[in-house]
Symmetry: C2
């Protein structure tokens, strides 16, 4: 039975949104809706235009016999700024201040709607780069890393501080914690990364840079390539300098003289959207 | 500027898919597209029909001045079975067998496409029940719990075995591990659950039932209600019996006499789809 355009548009939108970065052949849609390829092409033109007009993402169409359509999620700077202004206002609420100059943010990083925004923001920076996996370290970085992995549609790999029998053979590295200067250890399963994979690091917080050094060592152990690293929050290091230079942060946390924290925008404007 | 129906259908689909269980007022869409409410109602009828025909979910329309539309994700039994057959075939590959009778499954629980299916399956069981939060315990249960929380559109709350200064005041409980019979401890932030909330437990694995007892104690400490509990995998307990009765499992793992593992369907057919 031939399917009407209106139904095709709704179903194709759902289908593509659920498969970011995957090339869906035109013939697949033609069969799915028992429709001519030319009709499918017209549908895709409507999707492409709407996705662009509404800031949903890019619909890339690949011409030819092996051609098809690919949905590449992104977020526009305006929408990202609007969202981040809200998040920063929430974080600056004094009720969130914890002893020791910390800020409670687990609820933000556990809120599915916010995670969708955060995932899209992170994915936007790597729109045109090949990413094969997202790497994070347990525990608090997992939700935001998973959100990024969902929009990039690549596996999420979790390093752990403990070892677990359910991971099989593992690879471990030692690293020096940037804040406490203690030697720590992190481990991932040998099966979790392929040699030569392009790996994006995503974590909740960067302080002294120790964790990122550990994760970078793991990436080297697997002969993988580090594509970049994105952190939800960047804290001012006690020594005043970060030990790693090139990363993206969504918010910045600074201790004020009166013991309060001040949360401001991270460097994402420049890193994700290329503006200063 | 008036927006054409084709563009409205694409954008409304995206908008609703990104906000499961949220009631979107008709007036919101009417303003967004500068269109009459009657046109929006017709659009929603098309969405509703397509979502149902394609097994995407329910579009509930609430009539009246305060009315609107709500997308409730579900998965059809046929699609779930098809997906789970694939997962079970992958898990039964002998290369996954680890020493001690464990099966490597971290890649399945880190695959965004599979997590979308798993999340939809878990959400389907609680289609008509109020769920306010999804609770899991670090580390391996987080991705599947987050997937469920995304489709239920409720906060993800993570209990931890260690305590962390960034959680503020915490509540801890002791519990007896079902498999090792050791006394363990788990902790969550005092801020993470509201009194009276309806909580769904989601974790990767249930063996002796110790973890679920710990999570249940936490729920009691907060005067919350346990809505249900879903586990990716159910293992045969060493004592032969589970210490908790009522849970949903997607796969079942049994040790064979030859040391191999046999992975079969869990009880989800009955629990999620009400079939025997």
């Amino acid at each position: 039975m031939k399917i009407k355009r209106s139904e095709r548009l709704v179903d194709m939108t759902d289908y593509l949104l659920n498969r970011p970065h995957a090339l869906i052949p035109l013939t697949f849609f033609a069969q799915r809706y028992d429709s001519a390829k030319s009709s499918i092409s017209e549908d895709l033109t409507i999707l492409k235009r709407t996705f662009q007009a509404r800031g949903i993402g890019l619909v890339e169409t690949v011409p030819g016999a092996a051609g098809g359509a690919k949905y590449i999620p992104y977020i526009l700077k305006e929408a990202a700024d609007h969202f981040m202004d809200d998040v920063i206002a929430i974080l600056n609420n004094s009720h969130r201040l914890l002893p020791g100059g910390y800020v409670y943010m687990s609820d933000i990083l556990g809120d599915p709607e916010k995670l969708r925004y955060l995932g899209r923001m992170i994915a936007t920076q790597y729109l045109n780069q090949r990413v094969d996996a997202v790497l994070t370290v347990a525990t608090r970085g997992i939700p935001i890393a998973q959100a990024a992995s969902a929009y990039l549609n690549v596996p999420l790999v979790i390093a752990r501080h403990d070892t677990n029998i359910t991971e099989g053979s593992t690879v471990s590295v030692n690293y020096v914690s940037g804040s406490s200067k203690k030697i720590k250890r992190m481990t991932i399963s040998k099966r979790s990364l392929d040699e030569g994979a392009n790996v994006l690091i995503v974590d909740d917080f960067i302080h002294g840079g120790g964790t990122i050094n550990g994760l970078t060592s793991l990436i080297e152990e697997f002969d993988c390539n580090l594509v970049g690293s994105t952190f939800f929050a960047e804290g001012a290091s006690k020594s005043g300098t970060q030990t790693v230079g090139n990363y993206t942060s969504l918010v910045k946390m600074e201790n004020e003289a009166n013991g309060e924290m001040r949360i401001t925008k991270g460097n994402y404007d420049e890193k994700i959207f290329g503006s200063k």
